[in-house]
Point group: C2
Chain length 329, copies 2
């Protein structure tokens, strides 16, 4: 198996390489691609070192899988080259997620949607992945009709630059210097920013609508109603989501807990409350505080946390390779 990574020096790209090693995919070759300024950089992998290259039609040749961790516009630019090279493209950008013949997959939930794929597969939005990992086991008990989600999103969602912007701002505040945000629309150190993505005429952001649009596609629930508020918080790498949801038939708390506890990839927390700090740098989604929605007889409320760079992006993409590879056996 030969794998390429686009955007290999970014937060998600680096994590993809780590996940390939950790999950023992043992590819015969890994090629790392990044922008010009990173070319020549050496990155350790499985006891050796890989050198970052510029992407080219020639260099994509022979790869079985390409993992994409680049912007929407770069992803669109590279897609034809990857298709021509004959590789399967697993893209973390949102460029193709809603295209009908592009499977949008969280392997534990809808891995089956990979069957008959057309060589382009989309990795879902990070908050959507973490929220759906909590909801999917309960959706199996009864159809979810409505979701209201409020996110507490880490700065890693904006990549390495997001992480260093928080670090720099904390340092500036310490030194009583002025803060000059450039990655986020305002200071994130010691603040919250309810403004992620682009604002639409509806008053929702593009980030908030992903929860509805991607959620419907992944859960195969085209009529599921979703209201979302996405908020950036000064946390480094795990997202947390407070989710209220309604089901067609009433689900008891114990039933919901049992379903979550037995779902691969989830950890049910009943002895403590999950935190984004606790769930950082590992692949599981922690789900806790499952309780009755006091506004709706058929509603439940929960709190879930998961690593945005790992399960919210890199690990999920690598799991898609594993799933495809396993199917091919």
């Amino acid at each position: 198996m030969k794998i390429g990574i686009l955007g290999a020096t970014g937060a998600v790209g680096r994590q993809m390489l780590i996940c390939i090693e950790e999950r023992k995919l043992q590819p015969s070759e890994v090629r790392l691609f990044a922008s010009e300024r990173s070319v020549g950089k050496k990155i350790p992998f499985a006891g050796t070192e890989l050198t970052v290259e510029m992407v080219s039609q020639e260099r994509l040749k022979g790869l079985d899988y390409v993992l994409g961790a680049v912007s929407n516009s770069l992803s669109k630019e590279y897609r034809p080259m990857i298709e021509k090279a004959g590789a399967v493209y697993i893209d973390n950008s949102s460029a193709f997620r809603m295209e009908e013949d592009v499977p949008l997959v969280i392997p534990e939930i809808n891995g089956k949607d990979l069957q008959g794929h057309h060589r382009v597969i989309a990795n879902p939005n990070c908050s959507t992945i973490i929220t759906l990992m909590a909801l999917a086991p309960i959706a199996e008990l009864s159809k979810i009709t409505a979701v209201n989600a409020c996110t507490y999103q880490a700065v890693s969602g904006a990549g390495m630059n997001g992480i260093s912007e928080l670090e720099d701002e904390i340092e500036a505040v310490r030194k009583k210097e002025e803060v000059h945000p450039h990655v986020f629309p305002a200071q994130i150190a010691y603040s919250c920013i309810a403004d992620i993505g682009t604002m639409l005429d509806s008053g929702y952001t593009t980030e908030e609508m992903k929860m509805q649009n991607e959620g419907r596609k992944i859960l195969h629930l085209p009529d599921m109603k979703v209201t979302c508020t996405c908020v950036r918080v000064p946390v480094f790498r795990s997202h947390s989501i407070s989710v209220t949801f309604q089901t067609e038939k009433k689900i008891a708390i114990a039933e919901a807990e049992k379903a979550v506890a037995s779902f691969a990839g989830d950890v049910l927390c009943t002895d403590h409350i999950p935190s984004p700090l606790e769930t950082s740098d590992q692949d599981l989604v922690y789900v806790g505080r499952i309780r009755q929605d006091l506004c709706n007889e058929k509603g439940l409320v929960l709190w879930c946390c998961g690593d945005q760079i790992r399960k919210g992006a890199a690990s999920n993409a690598v799991q898609i390779i594993e799933y495809l590879d396993h199917e091919a056996d």
Copy 2:
């Protein structure tokens, strides 16, 4: 007018003194009370200095108003002394808030509830004050039937110790030292804690139930359904709340915006999104992102921020004195 402050050296107590000066109440005397270790401390006020004393029946004599910024247990201990001294007690603790003959008041919303008070008045919970300041003008257009609130609460909610715990933890992380939380149940620096107050058998915390119980009393809506998730975030002093709510009749976004914009104490933000950093150290509640709830025809969603120490506590209490004093004229 003679005013006493209980807990005068805490975050709320200090702010009460500042608010008395800022709002030009011009009391003829202010007496500051705190615990033994603060006795003798000098605190500047209106060009002079006040000395912190231990509270006693004798020292409460002659006061018209006592502002309480102490724990529930201390508040219960001092109440009989204050009543005996003949002062009106405006208490920021939650000890008496739900007592039938104790008005629970946000002056802009239900100042009239102060009429015929029995000398004990309760200041509401901080998140409840900020949320209701956003909802009250809309509740005047149509009865609010249900509220789902997710909070993003500042560390100042735990007083001076909460503020210094965040500062200390940030410094420990910088020095790569271990973090030892004692005020909060876990590390708050670079994390979120969905655990404020005491956990009840229902799976809700005491803090979360205040939004329902106090909200119903203040808005005079005993049947209003409220689901709340309270989350501590690494922010110093303003709380933010994402609120989804349903009304009896459908309210247009423009109507809701107009109501908020013309409500004393609120700032409607349509040109930017309010942040807790922006609303810190001032008395107004900023309300933005009013939009349609995508799950409910008669629902709206909004985002509001306000200073927890000021409007969420100290300023609201001082405003109660102003209201009573104005009524007395």
